[in-house]
């Protein structure tokens, strides 16, 4: 299991979906739902703050063709035990994935792009879902689980 956790944040930074894949065996703590909300809000703010710290860049950055719109905000956090990637879509949705140390950036970005595609199918086309609200769609959860096992 390479992907450890998945968070989905709406454009105002509110947590709309959170999922741990096999938490105990991977060293990720299980927090209370309040803690998850706080974590999400913190990541949303840090994403913005870090964009304001950009030094006068002397070398241009490469073009990205992965669909990730995250150019100036927080992109990746490396810690001793895991890596955290943030993928932003055109509508401001942030997909945050926590992966094991060995996983490359391309794999993680591909995973998050797939999550985005699943989101636009099973959440956006669901008449019972209100925009920016927590996601409670069963089909979406199933597909995300399948995706995490396949990666």
């Amino acid at each position: 299991m390479k992907v450890l956790s998945l968070y989905l944040l709406n454009k105002s930074g509110g947590l709309i979906y959170q999922r741990d894949f096999n938490p105990e065996s991977n060293g990720i703590n299980k927090l209370s739902s309040n803690d998850y909300l706080i974590t999400a809000g913190t990541l949303h703010s840090i994403h913005a703050i870090v964009a304001g710290l950009t030094p006068p860049v002397l070398y241009p950055i490469q073009e990205n063709q992965t669909g990730n719109q995250n150019q100036t905000g927080l992109f990746q956090v490396e810690t001793e035990k895991f890596n955290l990637f943030i993928y932003q879509t055109l509508t401001g949705l942030k997909i945050i994935s926590i992966v094991q140390k060995g996983v490359s950036q391309e794999t993680a970005t591909r995973f998050m792009a797939n999550v985005h595609s699943i989101y636009s199918d099973y959440v956006m086309k669901n008449p019972f879902y209100t925009l920016d609200m927590p996601i409670k769609c069963q089909l979406f959860s199933n597909k995300v689980l399948l995706l995490s096992e396949a990666s």
Binding site: P55, L58, E78
Partner: protein, 147 residues
């Protein structure tokens, strides 16, 4: 390309800052110019929140670096609460070796073992030790990633 070098102490103050990006080659004027600017406080705040978040998600986790599309920040936190931060280009690899060198070879020898430098930096005090500044410049400019 390494853009800047920061040191924060455990009282959340910036005690050293060196900017390599504004002028090339780095002149004496760029030392400790940004210590009280908002940039320093934002950087410290971001790093502080991020390290708290990582240790909450996984016990005993240590924050090593974070990256945006435009730059990458490498950090080292010591047991005494000192934080060493190097800001570099986004595609630079792992600079933890350089950070460890800066701490163990340079900082320990010139600041900690120095009888004349303060043990605990008070509000507003910065590192003005010339041997430290010169040594830091040498180590950083001679690193393979500095262009």
């Amino acid at each position: 390309m390494i853009y800047s070098f920061w040191i924060f102490d455990r009282h959340c103050n910036c005690i050293y800052n060196r900017d390599f990006a504004q002028h090339k080659p780095a002149s004496k004027d760029t030392v400790n110019r940004n210590n009280d600017k908002d940039e320093a406080k934002l950087l410290f705040g971001a790093i502080f929140s991020m390290s708290r978040l990582s240790s909450k998600l996984s016990d005993g986790n240590v924050l090593q670096s974070f990256r945006t599309g435009k730059y990458k920040a490498h950090l080292k936190e010591t047991a005494t609460g000192l934080r060493f931060i190097l800001i570099s280009d986004s595609n630079v690899g792992d600079l933890s070796g350089l950070l460890n060198q800066l701490y163990s070879d340079l900082y320990l020898n010139t600041i900690v073992k120095n009888g004349l430098s303060p043990v605990d930096f008070k509000e507003g005090m910065v590192i003005k030790n010339m041997s430290f500044i010169n040594g830091a410049d040498e180590l950083i400019t001679q690193n393979g990633d500095f262009i």
